[in-house]
Every structure is written in structure tokens, then in C-alpha cells.
């Protein structure tokens, strides 16, 4: 076992949470790819807890990993951890989420939630010919992705006085919570035209509520992520649109970069944006869960 330690290099994959299918997918893709390329890979779950994350980093450093593929819990809070790793000589490659430092991480492969949400916002406004009542369902209030998406969305939609947000509630990225929140919102506002949800799980939950209220066909649901369920739901004309992120691409790019780095390549780009693509019933056939066909 020790001998093995010497020749086989170890890659740590730290994911912000495994309580959300999207991140599970991201993590598992990275792990698979890394193993495929002959590394020993281990997945770490930060449970949305930045200080647990920093504990992981401590342990990773002690355990002498060679590289870290990192999906941070927080743009600012995670910087300290990355710096720790850097000063311990371990390269860090950020996946999906950015950290607010251009020097700490070797390279960041980012899914641009903000502009993704902007695209959704534009499409959203189009669909309602610039006027209508809508509901926004936020993710975890304390999570900066929640706000990246919400802000991106509002940066567009708020320019149209016709678009009226009748309710803005949080459902913690949770499908069941989204359903219950939506059920209650519908009691107050049965007359809405659209719902924008901070992720796909919540979109499915909201849709479920609309179904049991019997107005699923009247209300357009928008999600974010591009999960299996929602892709299927868009095909079936249930959900209206989502922002497709590409966890597979992100994960694999991160692994490739790590591999190159460990093989001595140093001039890796500091930032590689992976665009979020708008998925609607029009282009749905080009997509599968979490990616393109």
C-alpha cells in the first residue's frame, strides 16, 4: 500500500455539498475522469460549511495530496483555504464556482451563473411580452450562488415595469420546500404567469405544486442547472426553460489541467469560463441531463 502511495499521485476533489444532485454529479465526474487518467481520487463533502471545508484542506495537506479540484462553498470564505494549500505547494483548480482571488488558485474553470441568469432573464421577459406577474424562488439565503443567479436575473427583468414580482421566497435549493412554498404562494397569488427558480430541484418542486393546483399549463416554470429531471420535463413541455451548466465539461477540464500541471506545465489560464446555455423546448433535443448530446 505504501509503495503504491509513492508512484500513484493523489487528487482531492472538494465539493461544496453532496446534498444536491448537481454537485454529486460534478464530483463524481471529476473522480471518474481522474481515476481514468490513473490518479487516486478522493471526494470530500464540505456540506455547505466553509469551515468544514477548511478542515478538509488541513487534512488534505497533512495527507499529502498532489492536487485539489475545488468546488468552493464561498467566493471569499474559501480563499483562505486555497492560500493554505498553495503555500503547502498543492495546486488548486476551482470548478464551477469562483473564488475572489486571481493569485491563489492555479486556475479556475467557471460556470458563469450570473450571465446564465441574465440570458434566462432575457428569455423570461420575451415569453411574457414584457408584462406579467411572476414569483422568484431563491436558494439558500446565505449562499452566494443564490445571489449571483438572482442578481443576474433581476439585472434584466427589473428594467421592465410590466414585470411584477408578486412574491420572492427562499426554498433552500430543496425540492420539497419549493413545492410547499409554492403551494402557499399560490393561495395568495393564483394568477401568476411565471416562476423563476434558483435551481432545477426547486423548479421541479414548484412545478409539482402547480400541477396539484391544476394550473401547470398556465404558468411557465424556469429553472437553473440542467438536471436530468428538468431536461426530461422540458421535453415533456412541463418546465419551460433552464440554464444548462456543464458539470461534466467543467470537471473534466479541471482534471486535464491538474494532469498537465502535475506533468510540469505551468502556463495554464487563470480563468476558463464555461458558458451557461439557455435550454428551451426549441433546442432541447441537443441536450441531455447535465450536458450536450
Amino acid at each position: 500500500h505504501k509503495a503504491k502511495d509513492k508512484d500513484i499521485k493523489k487528487i482531492a476533489i472538494v465539493v461544496s455539498t453532496l446534498n444536491n444532485p448537481w454537485f454529486v454529479f460534478l464530483g463524481q465526474q471529476a473522480a471518474q475522469k481522474a481515476r481514468a487518467m490513473g490518479y487516486e481520487a478522493k471526494l470530500f463533502d464540505s456540506q455547505n460549511n466553509t469551515s468544514l471545508e477548511s478542515n478538509h484542506f488541513d487534512n488534505i495537506i497533512v495527507d499529502g495530496y498532489n492536487a485539489i479540484l475545488f468546488n468552493p462553498t464561498d467566493a471569499d470564505g474559501s480563499v483562505a483555504s486555497v492560500k493554505k494549500a498553495k503555500s503547502a505547494g498543492i495546486p488548486v483548480f476551482c470548478m464551477d464556482r469562483e473564488i475572489n482571488s486571481t493569485t491563489a488558485a492555479t486556475s479556475q474553470i467557471l460556470s458563469d451563473s450570473y450571465s446564465g441568469a441574465v440570458d434566462i432573464g432575457k428569455y423570461f421577459v420575451q415569453q411574457f411580452e414584457k408584462k406579467g406577474n411572476y414569483v422568484e424562488i431563491l436558494g439558500l439565503v446565505g449562499d452566494n450562488n443564490t445571489w449571483a443567479r438572482s442578481k443576474g436575473f433581476h439585472s434584466v427583468v427589473d428594467n421592465y415595469p410590466g414585470m411584477k414580482m408578486v412574491a420572492q421566497q427562499s426554498a433552500d435549493f430543496d425540492r420539497n420546500k419549493a413545492m410547499e412554498v409554492m403551494e402557499s404562494i399560490l393561495q395568495a397569488h393564483p394568477d401568476i404567469d411565471g416562476v423563476f427558480c434558483g435551481n432545477d430541484a426547486m423548479a421541479m418542486g414548484a412545478y409539482q405544486a402547480l400541477v396539484s393546483a391544476g394550473i401547470a399549463d398556465k404558468v411557465k416554470v424556469f429553472g437553473f442547472d440542467g438536471s436530468d429531471d428538468v431536461i426530461a420535463a422540458i421535453k415533456a413541455g412541463k418546465v419551460y426553460a433552464t440554464g444548462m451548466q456543464f458539470p461534466k465539461i467543467i470537471a473534466e477540464t479541471a482534471v486535464k489541467f491538474a494532469d498537465l500541471y502535475l506533468k510540469g506545465k505551468r502556463d495554464l489560464p487563470q480563468k476558463v469560463p464555461v458558458a451557461v446555455e439557455l435550454v428551451t423546448n426549441k433546442n432541447i433535443d441537443d441536450y441531455i441531463g447535465y450536458g450536450k448530446k
Partner: protein, 324 residues
């Protein structure tokens, strides 16, 4: 004689006053609150917590606690969904066992029951404090759920399964019926059977219970098993309502359940409390969640308001019969 019964009567419905007050206030604040539709909606949403909290009450009455209900909910929901969708296929001999909706549901409930049995066994046999034993199970069951689902939801479970969560019957949502049955069965158990009497006795004075020849382990184990089974039922409802089993379903539901139990006037030291109180407690929480959304309280303020109102509810209720 009268007074005593009256006192007991008030005591049973302790938190009722608080609930009524809450409803009055809300119906003054918004006309959306007191509609039949919304009332049904609240009931439907509360059904899950009522199922969990009912089992929790029994455990708490024995002076125990069960933190694992949330994870049990997730695991059993997932297993039921998994069996329904994929059945069991043994690679070795290429046997495949399919499951009917009924079969899947029963299987889920049985698993919940078994986990409960295990909790109870560990607690009584090895004298592990319930808090630790069930906290450990919270982690274990969650892990098992993740392993079983690979962290991905199991969706599209078909209309007949979805009926459990979304259908209704004589104008009442099915989940409400289920919750009602769970509650009635438990009330019956607690008031009309040896088991119930022993639960109160053990929670009230375990030594005396031992001296009275009560089989304490048996009673305790059963109460945890009950809590497990009811959590499983809740899991099936949740899964069916979403038409999807979420690996992270039920996270921190134990807190809501225990809150319902305690708000309902059951003492965490055991021996004192009623199922009806718990039901009221659960409804209070449900009404609150619903009201905050109806009033579109900003997510930032929501928690502050929710916490304060719960506090107020309990305080009012205590002031109600300060002579204690």
C-alpha cells in the same frame, strides 16, 4: 372532581389557545388565510410533520428522543421509490423481483420499522443514551440513502404511487387521511392499551416501572419502532408528493417534529403529554410557515418572525395557566 377534570382538559389542549390566537391574527392580516383551499393546503403540508411528530411523541413520553426520523424518512422514501421503479435484480443469479405500489410502500414502512427496532435495541441493550444512538442513526441512515440513490433523485414513479401524496378522497387530501389514521391509531394505543399505559409509566418513573415488573426494553424498543414506521410513512408521502425521492429529503425534520411535540405540551423528561397536543403543535408550525409566505415576509425577516412567533405562542400558552 369537576375542576380536576377541567384542569386536565385544559392541559390536554394547552396550546389550542395559542393556535387560535395565531389564526385570528393571520386572518386579520390577510383574507387569503381563512379560505377552505388554504386550510386544506396547510393540512396537506402539516400531514408529514404530524406523522413524524406522533411517533416522536411516543418516544419522548418514554423519556427518550429520536433524531434519526429525518434520515429514516429519506431512506424509506428512496427505497420505496427504488423498488417500485427498478425492483431488485440480483446480478449473480439473474433474478429480477418487481414491486407493486403496495409492495414498495409496505417494504418502505417495514424498513423504517426495522431501523426503529435497531435504535431501540441499541438504546435498551447497551444503555446508549437515546440522543447519541439516534444521532448516530441519523448519520448512518443518511449515508445509506446516499449510497442507495448515488446522491441522485429517483423520479417519475407513476400516477398510482403519486395518488398517495397528491390525490384526495371525500374532499380531503390523501396525506391528511393518512396522518389522521396514524394519529387515531396512536391515540388509541396510548389511551386504550397496555403499551400506552406502560409508555407513560416508564417515562414517569422507570425504577417504579421495573419494580412493577414491566418489560421496559420491550416497550421502549416498540416505541422507537413505531417512530421509525411513522417516519417511513412520512417519507412515502413526501416522495409521492414530489413524484421523486430526494436523497436529502427530511434533513433536520427531527427538529420540527420535536418542536411540535414540545409546543404541544409534552415534557422531554417523559411521562407527561398527549398526542393531541402534538397535533396542535404541528399545526401551529404549519400555520406559521404558511402565514409567513402568504404575507410574503422577506426571506431575511422570515426566520426572525417565525422564531419570535413560536416563542410568543408558547409564552402566551404558559401564561394561560401560569398556576403550575
Amino acid at each position: 372532581m369537576k375542576t380536576v377534570n377541567y384542569a386536565g382538559y385544559v392541559k390536554r389542549f394547552q396550546s389550542l389557545i395559542a393556535l387560535l390566537l395565531l389564526c385570528i391574527v393571520l386572518s386579520l392580516l390577510t383574507d387569503k388565510f381563512l379560505t377552505t383551499e388554504n386550510s386544506l393546503n396547510i393540512l396537506r403540508q402539516t400531514a408529514v410533520n404530524i406523522c413524524i411528530a406522533t411517533g416522536m411523541t411516543v418516544v419522548v413520553l418514554t423519556a427518550g428522543i429520536d433524531l434519526s426520523v429525518g434520515s429514516i424518512l429519506a431512506l424509506c422514501g428512496a427505497v420505496a421509490a427504488g423498488l417500485l421503479k427498478n425492483g431488485i435484480s440480483l446480478q449473480a443469479s439473474d433474478v429480477f423481483i418487481g414491486f407493486t405500489v403496495f409492495g414498495a410502500v409496505v417494504a418502505g414502512i417495514i424498513i423504517g420499522y426495522l431501523i426503529g427496532l435497531f435504535n431501540g435495541f441499541v438504546i435498551t441493550k447497551f444503555k446508549v443514551p437515546p440522543f447519541v444512538a439516534t444521532l448516530a442513526m441519523l448519520t448512518i441512515a443518511r449515508g445509506l440513502t446516499m449510497l442507495y440513490t448515488h446522491g441522485q433523485p429517483i423520479s417519475n414513479l407513476g400516477p398510482s404511487f403519486d395518488f398517495i401524496g397528491t390525490g384526495s378522497f371525500w374532499g380531503l387530501p390523501v396525506p391528511v387521511w393518512i396522518a389522521a389514521i396514524v394519529v387515531l391509531i396512536t391515540v388509541f394505543l396510548m389511551q386504550k392499551t397496555k403499551f400506552g399505559r406502560y409508555v407513560y409509566a416508564i417515562g414517569g418513573n422507570e425504577t417504579a416501572a421495573k419494580f412493577s415488573g414491566i418489560n421496559i426494553p420491550k416497550v421502549k424498543i416498540l416505541s422507537y419502532a413505531l417512530a421509525g414506521a411513522f417516519a417511513a410513512i412520512a417519507g412515502i408521502i413526501v416522495t409521492s408528493r414530489l413524484d421523486s425521492a430526494q436523497p436529502n429529503a427530511g434533513t433536520s425534520y427531527e427538529l420540527d417534529a420535536i418542536a411540535a411535540v414540545v409546543i404541544g405540551g409534552t415534557s422531554l423528561n417523559g411521562g407527561r403529554g398527549t398526542i393531541w397536543g402534538t397535533v396542535i403543535g404541528a399545526v401551529i408550525i404549519g400555520v406559521l410557515n404558511n402565514g409567513l409566505v402568504l404575507l410574503n415576509v422577506s426571506p431575511f425577516w422570515q426566520q426572525v418572525v417565525k422564531g419570535s412567533v413560536i416563542l410568543l405562542a408558547v409564552i402566551i400558552d404558559k401564561l394561560g395557566h401560569s398556576k403550575d
